[in-house]
């Protein structure tokens, strides 16, 4: 299968990646090849086969409810693009 430009733009919007119109034809071509590859799975009969998420059948370990993390705000915010009054700053969000 191949994707339309509209579909590619929709995916890019979901993924929050800006795509220039000039990039579309190459993307369409390359994604088309990828989808051709993964579409081969459709022909496989998997009736009765359970999906496999992890190769080892293990259960989730559980942590004791203890506060172990100190306040490292200054360390973490040293690598932040913009902070003020201890807050991460983004453009005004209107609800």
């Amino acid at each position: 299968m191949s994707l339309t430009d509209q579909e590619i733009k929709h995916l890019a919007k979901l993924a929050r990646i800006h795509i220039e119109d000039t990039e579309l034809s190459l993307l369409r071509d390359q994604l088309g090849k990828v989808f051709q590859l993964i579409d081969t799975l459709q022909a496989v009969d998997t009736t009765g086969i359970e999906p496999l998420s992890h190769s080892l059948a293990l259960n989730q370990p559980l942590r004791e409810d203890r506060v172990t993390e100190p306040n490292l705000r200054d360390v973490y915010q040293a690598v932040a693009p913009e902070v003020e009054k201890g807050l991460y700053i983004v453009p005004k969000v209107i609800e």
Binding site: L14, H18, I38, D39, L41, L56, P81, E82, P91
Partner: protein
């Protein structure tokens, strides 16, 4: 001193016997990096002061009589591992300015063992690539032929070890990213069982497949490193609880009677004859050592690539959502609103291959397609695991080529992503099944480029794989060959 022939074992002896200090040895490696890295571009970050100050501290520990496992052994870390105070880029513009504020579990463990960080190695962006051509920090050259790719995504670690810029290097493998570059660069590379090495602090690509591992000239070197790297970490929910193992203890066992499974699918079309020939010779060599050949079949091998290119992009599309320009990393210069901040930051920060995989992953998870792609891929993933489990009822290890071809040229496969993806055809199924896989050099193919043999074992059979490889390496010297022009100082 010629450091190009130093093994981890030899380095330990030199340090223990005080024939060389940690600072001196680290200095020799730093000099060699300074001399050779400009042509290879194997390292993204080298910081002499940091390295030497760590070496000084280790020398003090030695003076105080400490004897940790890897005291004074230099190591290079793939730039996917967060190392406190070190630039940690993951090969991406997105993290080009990211100084990690914490240590990955394995960085902590190597630091505790007394190993000295030589620097951070180049890699495909976010580990997505098989040629190291997707790195924001430029191509890595294959030390055997500077016009060829080193493989990927751990191309920097592979080239560094091949050129002996480091005696040991960490790497990661999601679909072959350790074994494929190890094969193309003529070194040994191990991807452990999924869950054996903590993923804490290893920047995620595809969480259910990612696994940290090691590269070094020999299997024995890797055994020393794995003693430090493998082990339970409660910060990683998928980390397996097991007794600590000494991987060097079994290296010397004879391999008489070892049943080696040879899957017909690994020797079918697409495999170059030069690679097939070198691999066949290696199998015969192992037979001479007492191994027994068992022909078998892994019928779903060809499906591993499409399964991988559904599951890995799906997980990646979600794992990479955190790179949004808000808390760390790249942020675009001009934006009018939040959406534009996101969309431009991510458009600028990610390279083409990363974007392609994010879009692919977004697609296969989206409403109406999830069952057909994601769940179907997970079902076929189970079929692939079942193939292996059945095979291991008949044999102890499975052997085959690590890659279908020797190292290819730059730009040879960049225009067609699928042709690039197929260079991992023999390695990907091992990740899907969560098995350990080891690639070792077994000779040369066309243009005198290295060929890798892959050994695959049941879950947690690392010691067995390293044992078989070590026995082979005791009787051959392919792992000691050095690329022309970079041997010696």
């Amino acid at each position: 001193m010629d450091i190009s022939s130093l093994s981890v074992k030899k380095i330990k002896q030199l340090i223990d016997s005080k024939n060389i200090s940690t600072v001196e040895l680290a200095g020799l490696y730093l000099d060699r990096i300074e001399q050779l890295n400009p042509q290879l571009n194997a390292f993204v970050t080298v910081d002499k002061d940091k390295t030497l100050s760590q070496a000084k501290q280790v020398d003090q520990l030695i003076a105080q009589g400490h004897s940790n496992a890897l005291l004074g052994v230099p190591i290079a870390h793939k730039d996917i591992f967060c190392a406190k105070g070190w630039l940690t880029t993951c090969g991406s513009k997105m993290l080009a300015n990211f100084v990690a504020p914490y240590d990955a579990h394995i960085i902590e463990e190597f630091n505790k063992s007394g190993a000295i960080i030589l620097g951070k190695t180049n890699m495909d962006e976010f580990a997505m690539g098989s040629s190291n051509e997707t790195s924001y920090f430029g191509l890595v050259k294959n030390p055997w032929d500077l016009t060829k790719v080193p493989g990927g995504s751990s191309g920097g670690s592979a080239a560094a070890v091949a050129a002996r810029l480091a005696p040991l290097a960490t790497a990661t493998d999601t679909g072959g990213s350790i074994r494929q570059p190890a094969a193309l660069c003529g070194i040994s590379g191990l991807k452990p069982t999924y869950g054996y090495v903590s993923r804490y602090g290893m920047i995620a690509y595809a969480s259910s497949l990612d696994q940290g591992g090691l590269m070094a000239p020999s299997a024995e070197d890797i055994a020393y490193g794995l003693n430090i790297m493998a082990g339970h970490d409660e910060r990683d929910s998928t980390s397996v609880k097991r007794e600590k193992e000494d991987f060097t203890a079994q290296l010397h066992h004879p391999i008489q009677g070892l049943r080696i499974g040879i899957p017909e699918e690994f020797f079918s079309e697409g495999l170059d004859s030069d690679v097939a020939q070198a691999v066949e010779q290696a199998i015969q060599e192992l037979e001479k050592l007492g191994a027994v050949r068992v022909p078998l079949s892994l019928p779903n091998t060809s499906l591993s690539v499409p399964v991988y290119y559904v599951l890995a992009p799906a997980e990646a599309s979600s794992n990479l959502s955190r790179f949004d320009g808000v808390r760390y990393g790249h942020r675009t210069q001009d934006y009018r609103d939040l959406i534009e901040l996101y969309e431009k930051t991510r458009a600028e920060g990610f390279g083409a291959e990363v974007k392609r995989r994010i879009l692919t992953g977004t697609y296969v998870l989206s409403r109406g397609y999830y069952d057909a792609y994601y769940l179907q891929a997970q079902r076929v993933r189970r079929l692939i695991l079942q193939d292996y489990l059945r095979a291991f009822e008949q044999c102890d290890v499975i052997l085959g080529p690590s890659t279908p071809t020797v190292a290819f040229g730059f730009n040879e496969k960049t225009s067609d992503p699928v042709s690039m993806y197929l260079s991992d055809i023999f390695t990907i199924s091992v990740n899907l099944a969560g098995l350990p896989g080891l690639s070792i050099p077994v000779g040369f193919g066309k243009e005198h480029l290295p060929v890798g043999l892959q050994l695959i074992g049941p879950h947690f059979s690392e010691a067995k794989l390293l044992n078989a490889a070590h026995q082979y390496q005791l009787h051959t010297d392919w792992h000691q060959h050095l690329p022309a022009g970079i041997a010696g100082n």
